[in-house]
């Protein structure tokens, strides 16, 4: 998952959460307000291959405050772009810890294995009817995707 921000900076590589943390830390070092955005990014499959269910990733990017007029501006350092119709926003906070997708306290369990699957599918029409059918058989299908 994420690397400590100074380690990611020194390594000059990381995952999207690391790019976001480095950019936020750099902006704040100059006194510029910056926050961490948790979301999804629509992706394209490799040429000639079908889009895989569960293959889309959680994504993270940055908002920088550009004054009262422009307000918060979203920027995606991983892809060197402003956000567009491919960026779905879930939550924002000071950094990953404020908006971690799922965290908790359990009693028991010892060690665990974790499976995460994210699917971002473009739909053409009003989806509720379609969705019902997909939920019915979606559970087993999706779980097998994560394994």
């Amino acid at each position: 998952m994420t690397t400590p921000v100074l380690e990611a900076l020194a390594l000059k590589r990381g995952v999207c959460q690391d790019f976001a943390h480095v950019m936020i830390g750099a902006l704040r070092a100059l006194g510029l307000p910056a926050r961490y955005v948790s979301g999804y990014l629509r992706t394209l499959p490799p040429p000639g291959q079908p889009r895989l269910q569960g293959a889309d990733a959680s994504h993270a990017w940055v908002q920088v405050w550009c004054g009262p007029d422009a307000g918060w501006v979203d920027m995606d350092p991983t892809n060197d772009t402003l956000i567009d119709r491919n960026h779905i926003t879930l939550a924002y906070g000071r950094d990953y810890d404020d908006v971690c997708p799922l965290r908790g306290v359990i009693l028991g369990g010892d060690t665990h294995a974790l499976y995460v699957s994210v699917d971002v599918e473009e739909v053409e029409e009003d989806p509720p009817a379609v969705r019902q059918a997909q939920i019915q058989d979606g559970q087993g299908q999706s779980q097998s995707q994560t394994l």
Binding site: L6, G67, N86, D98, V105, L107, V118, V123
Partner: protein, 161 residues
């Protein structure tokens, strides 16, 4: 590996998505109670209309409470008191994204001006400070930032692409 979709051209039609996020834990020893906080949104924003279609938790929780956190993010609190070896949470969303006019980044004030006035704006001041994963002050991060922010430049330099 999948690659990001290239940036949009202006004036494209809205895009509607169905998103499904599955998280599953498999434990080696039975868990007798579990309390979770999920930040699986979505937020309503300019350019983003969104709603939760379904949240499914297995085993069935004893308590589910939907709340907004201190920044207005939707959260779900889930408590499970049924012994279990597997726990799964599936969140399905219906999201429509409408392209917004791109901000005029060149017109933003000089970054020094933003930095000078930010501490006086309560809603943004906390985002200048250190946070759990981001120590401040950080000479290494300041040095990294300096190269991208010449004196008097806009606070939001346009991406290189």
């Amino acid at each position: 590996m999948s690659t990001p979709v290239p940036p949009d051209q202006p004036r494209l039609p809205p895009v509607r998505y169905r998103c499904r996020h599955i998280t599953r834990y498999s434990y080696t020893v039975q868990v007798v109670s579990s309390q979770l906080i999920a930040h699986l949104g979505p937020r309503e924003l300019p350019g983003q209309r969104a709603r939760v279609l379904a949240v499914t938790v297995e085993p069935p929780p004893a308590v589910v409470a939907e709340r907004l956190d201190w920044l207005g993010n939707p959260t779900s609190y889930v408590a499970i008191d049924t012994p279990h070896l597997d726990l799964s949470m599936t969140v399905e969303l219906d999201v429509t994204l409408t392209p917004r006019p791109a901000p005029d980044l060149a017109a933003t004030p000089a970054w020094e001006e933003i930095a000078a006035q930010a501490p006086r704006h309560l809603a943004v001041a906390e985002f200048i400070e250190a946070s759990p994963r981001l120590p401040q002050p950080s000479p290494a991060l300041a040095a990294f930032a300096a190269g991208s922010f010449p004196p008097g430049g806009p606070s939001a330099p346009a991406p290189a692409t």
